[in-house]
Structure formats: structure tokens, C-alpha cells
Symmetry: C2
Subunit: 250 residues, 2 copies
Amino acid sequence: MLTKKIVKYIQSLSQKKLRDKEDAFIAEGPKVVEEFLLSGVFDCKIICADPAWLLTNDQLLKKSFGEIYESDEDSLKKISLLKTANKVVGVFNKREVKNDLLFDNKITLLLDDISDPGNMGSIIRIADWFAVANIVCSDNCVDCYNPKVVQATMGSLGRVNIIYTDIKVFLLNQRSINVYAATLSGTKLAKVGTVKEGFILIGNESRGISEELLSLSKNHITIPRYGNAESLNAAVATGIILSHVTADLS
Amino acid sequence: MLTKKIVKYIQSLSQKKLRDKEDAFIAEGPKVVEEFLLSGVFDCKIICADPAWLLTNDQLLKKSFGEIYESDEDSLKKISLLKTANKVVGVFNKREVKNDLLFDNKITLLLDDISDPGNMGSIIRIADWFAVANIVCSDNCVDCYNPKVVQATMGSLGRVNIIYTDIKVFLLNQRSINVYAATLSGTKLAKVGTVKEGFILIGNESRGISEELLSLSKNHITIPRYGNAESLNAAVATGIILSHVTADLS
């Protein structure tokens, strides 16, 4: 039975501080939970679901060593962070952060203070689409285990390595790899060729990229604007740039 | 003073039925409201704002013939549809739908049942960035005056013509213009050249483009996937395609 204690524990994981302490996070909804269970990337700690979902996913749950709680609509509503509660909520252990990532011969995304969870989730999903294996986030980026981020990644969270660090220090240690900073006044994208190795640097939604990081970026690239919108959404810009620099012209 | 009647009226505009009846919609937040007042594209009916916002925007309000209500935090909370109430909420009249739009010599977006308000708003903003003047939506697309859409357009709503119609009938009347349908198994984007005139057709977030419309599309185009994400967000895909087909290579 889903006790008050467990409900309280799950609710507590909406806070980063407690996610860090517990090394755990929440995933909601059939799509994301099923994908996580199937891939086995994240160890499952708890599954709370309605009877119908538990029945349908019987086989999948045999793979999991988590506690399973059959839950009614009211309980699911209590633990859900979404407006419309889902059929299933899972608690998973975070992945171990890999410290031996290599950045040569590949494209890596660098995110400077991306603050919107929807954008962060979208960017992780886009990285997964274009086979970008690693994302390096500045320490002020929104937590990739924030429930809204997890939701927006649509399962891609398990397929991309994400590290949080001081990007300036990081770049100073990676001087041999070119940085391509997305700015409003750089080389227009059509003039930038295919990139086989490089860091694509995306800035904060309102402030853009910090001066400090811009000065470490050899290439400034721009998505030309023909109309009047003030800006493009950070995730959309990431998608456009990745699509262009990964284009296989053969 | 902000009477109960007015609060009720504003709240009612969260429903499409009543927006249609009143020919009016809600815009929230300084950015969007100020942009609408400044551009004058939408006639302003009502402004509810805190004293500080009213003072700062004194000049801007002289342009408006709407009713102005100084509102405290509690009242703003009542009429706001956002979790965190804004300093200002405006009610504007919808624009007249232009029936004499021309589609030759330009790129036009066709949206087949886009249902997520965030996506619709993003797509309108992207269209504005790439100077796409017209968006043709299927009748089942989310209403462009839905408050969440208005919010996500960041002011671009006033700069793009949006019409709702039966896209099949529409296309049968526009046979001379090429259709480029975004699918998962078409010509890869890098092989598609610059497009000076054409319809870019984007499908529903989960179902994609209907068979009926696909059969009317001469060109099927695809954003190549190198990784494992199941799909790209509809707005991100729109941005990638528009960036590619509008690329000025000179």
C-alpha cells in the first residue's frame, strides 16, 4: 500500500536538494516510465501505477527490482506534479556521472545557463536525435532531473551523457577543440560547413552567452533572421544548428 | 474598479467558444501586452495592471482606447491563467482574417492538426523569424488565440496571418504550388535545395500528416536521424526545415 511516508518521499523529489541527497528522481507517464524500465539505464526504486497499467506491463516489471504500489487515482494525483495525473509515476536512481568522457571526433553541446525545463528537455531530445553523446551544462543550468525536464526528454535522458561544470574552466582544458558559439551577429549558418568535431555553445534564453565564454569561442555562428521575431527559442536554435552542421551531403 | 462582472468576462475568454463569440482574446505579461499596444495590430479592449506597470506605460496607454483598470495582486491572480500571475493582463480584439492571401512567390506553412499550444506558439514565432507571412491551419489545430499560444508567440502573433480551413480543399485549389511534406521517410533535407515558393506541411505531434494530405504532397522531406530519439518536436522540425529551405547561400 502507498503509505503517507512514501507519498511524502516522492513529493520531496520535486526539490533538487532532495534529489541530490537521495540520488533519485521522478519520471511520470507511461511513455517515459516504460522506456526507462525497458532500457534499464536507470535503476528503478518505486513504481506507483493504476491496476490496468500494472497488468499491461507485467513483463516489463519483472525486469525491475523496485517496490511496486498499486495506486488509485487519488494517490496518483497526490504524487503527480502534472496538472492531469498520470497512470504511472516511477522513482529511479540517477545515473553515475561519467568523468572520463572524450570530446574529440565528435560534436558536443555546451549549455550556458539554460533555465527553462522545457527547453532543457527539448535540447536533450534533439541531442539524442542527432547522436550528440554528451552535453556539458554550466552549473546554473536547470537540473536535468527536474521532473519537467525528464518529461520533456521523452525518454532521451537515458541516452545522452550530461555533466554540470564550470564551462570556462572546462574550455580552458579543451583548447584543441573548436567552439561554435550561437550568437546574433556571427557567420551565417549557410556559410558554416559540416562539423565533425566541435563544441556548439548555446546561451541563456534571455541573456545569451556570457562575455567570458564568447571570448573563448573562435567561431560565432548565426541563424539569419529575415522577419521580425526578436529571438528564436533556445531549443529550436539548437535543432537548426545541429541539423546544419551534421548534414551528410553525400 | 475591476468589478466581478469584468473578472468573469475575462475568465470566460479562456474558452474558445466565448473567444469566438466575443471576437476577443487574452494576452498576459508585459512583453506581449506592450508589444501588442505598440504595434496597434490588435485593438485593445481592456487593460488590468498593477499601479507600477500603469505608471511606466503611461505613454503607451495613450494610444489605446481600451478600458484601464488598476488592479491589485489578488485581482490579477483571479484573471491570470498562469501559475504566477502577471503585472498586466490585456483583452484585445482578434484581427480580421484576410481572405485574399496570395501564396505565390513565397513560403507558406501548412499545419495538419497541431494540438499543443506551446508548439503552435513556437511555430508562429519561428514563422515570424523566417519571414513566413502566412500559416494555414487545419480546422483541428489548436486555436491561435488560446492564451498559451498567445504567450508562446512572444508578440509574433500580430505579424503572421493565420487562417483555419480544410487543408485538403485548400490544396486542391492551389495545385500550381509545390507541397513539401515533413515525413520520416522522404528525401533527406540536405538534398533539398532552397525553396522560393512552396507549402511546407507539418503534421500532428503524434500521428504525423494524414494519408489524404500526404497523397497531395509532391515532395516528402526528412530531417535525418543519426541517434535514437523517437521523434523531433513539431516546432523544432519546423525551424530546421525553414532554416534550410530559406538559406541564402550568396
